[in-house]
């Protein structure tokens, strides 16, 4: 068992000050811990200090004005059990349920998933198509970063030194869906996943591909053929052909490149159809 000292600051300012007082690689931030604790046991260079966010007032969920704001330390299980989530943001509801089992989601958080930016995150594809914004707080004050700029690579984000994720905002309800394929339905990594959402503002679609290195990405090529809330079958077929040719669909020990390409096409069809059928979006 790794040894470290655990500190739990009472305020946001105290948490930032605590993080600033350690060399960057010697302190880790603990939200839910489901990813960090695995690393503390098995990682090569464990931190000496773990800064817990458990006392910070960020276990919140708010729907004011149709904008969903999720506090960074809210357990995913609380988000999942919100009575309005599945109707307003179906892709997010489905992506949350793709993370671990219920007893893992009792601990896991949206902030932790983003801050740790695991390469195969199931949440990132949904956040990409829903145009999520990440609210940060740090020594230089507050800032917001669009999700497509937040995660730079596997285990790499734009978070500065001693900077924390305070909340994630979803600007509007959207008809959307998240489709994935894996060997074991629960507690496994998606071989490929596809998220799709219709954006009523510009009548266009957002499509993201997950389970690919180095991280989930928007696929503009597969978005472009889709127009309007109910795209025609030939538009969907064209988008599916394009996503299957994406260069990130490479083979590894979990799936061959050929299988991944077939999956991407099938999951694209499934996600777009489910998004259209979801009736999600503005009431």
């Amino acid at each position: 068992m790794a040894e470290f000292s655990l500190v739990a600051p009472r305020t946001v300012d105290a948490a930032i000050a605590e993080l600033r007082s350690h060399p960057a690689h010697e302190a880790a931030v603990l939200a839910g811990g489901t990813d960090l604790l695995f690393d503390l046991d098995h990682g090569r260079d464990p931190p000496r200090t773990v800064v817990s966010l458990r006392h910070l007032p960020w276990r919140t969920l708010d729907w004011t004005g149709g904008i969903l704001t999720v506090g960074s330390t809210l357990p995913l299980r609380s988000l999942e059990l919100d009575p309005d989530l599945a109707a307003r943001l179906p892709a997010l509801a489905q992506a949350v349920r793709a993370v671990g089992g219920i007893a893992l989601r009792a601990r896991a958080t949206l902030g932790g998933n983003l801050g740790r930016s695991a390469p195969a995150s199931d949440l990132l594809p949904a956040l990409l198509v829903l145009d999520a914004e990440v609210d940060l707080v740090g020594p230089q004050g507050d800032r917001s970063v669009p999700i497509d700029r937040f995660v730079k690579a596997s285990r790499e984000t734009v978070l500065g030194r001693a900077e924390l994720i305070r909340a994630v905002r979803f600007p509007e309800p959207r008809a959307s869906a998240y489709a994935w394929q894996r060997v074991r339905p629960v507690n496994d990594i998606s071989q490929v996943s596809v998220a799709a959402a219709y954006s009523p503002g510009d009548h266009g679609w957002r499509v993201a591909l997950g389970g690919v290195p180095p991280r989930a990405i928007r696929v503009a090529d597969a978005e472009e053929p889709l127009r309007g809330a109910r795209p025609a079958a030939d538009q969907v077929a064209r988008g599916a052909d394009r996503i299957a040719r994406h260069p990130a669909l490479v083979g590894d020990r979990r799936a061959s490149d050929e299988y991944r390409r077939r999956l991407a096409s099938a999951l694209y069809h499934r996600a777009v159809a489910a998004a259209v059928a979801s009736g999600g979006g503005p009431p």
Partner: protein
């Protein structure tokens, strides 16, 4: 390493410890300090659900919970599950349907199912309950009997 005091309520009793290291897991606190060996260690990586306990009523992996993170919480382990009326029906359903082979996964299933009924209610459809139990593994692969126990528990509670 720093060791600090920590206190919880476990199965309705107060447990106050004065030297819990920051890195200690709730699973180890329960098994080795509180002497509650009903909670099992399976994988210790969050893949099997054998270590599931209720933390403030919600099924939670005790292997991925630092003990200090659960400070002040009400914890229920399988030893205390029959003090809860819902838990009593769940245990009876597992017994009546003989949904136990080696028994190692059983505490995790019983605790998780009890928590699920409390979170979602007894009207929750069986497929949803089974889906939500997907994080619990039975290494004997005795899932057919476990699925019967889930349906039987739901019937008892309705």
């Amino acid at each position: 390493m720093t060791a600090e005091p920590a206190s919880f309520r476990v199965n309705g009793r107060s447990v106050a410890l004065d030297d819990v290291p920051g890195a200690e897991r709730l699973l180890d606190t329960l098994r080795w300090r509180a002497g509650l060996k009903g909670t099992k260690e399976g994988c210790r990586t969050g893949d099997c659900g054998a270590c599931t306990v209720l933390v403030d009523g919600r099924p939670t992996l005790s292997c991925l919970t630092l003990s200090h993170e659960a400070e002040g919480s009400a914890i229920v382990t399988v030893e205390g599950i029959e003090d809860d009326p819902v838990g009593r029906h769940v245990v009876a359903a597992f017994r009546d349907t003989a949904a136990v082979q080696c028994g190692y996964c059983t505490p995790g299933f019983v605790v998780a199912l009890t928590g699920l009924f409390k979170e979602r209610g007894a009207a929750t459809p069986v497929p949803t309950l089974l889906d939500d139990l997907g994080g619990n593994l039975c290494r004997c692969t005795g899932y057919a009997a476990i699925a019967r126990a889930v349906a039987a528990a739901r019937e008892r509670l309705r």
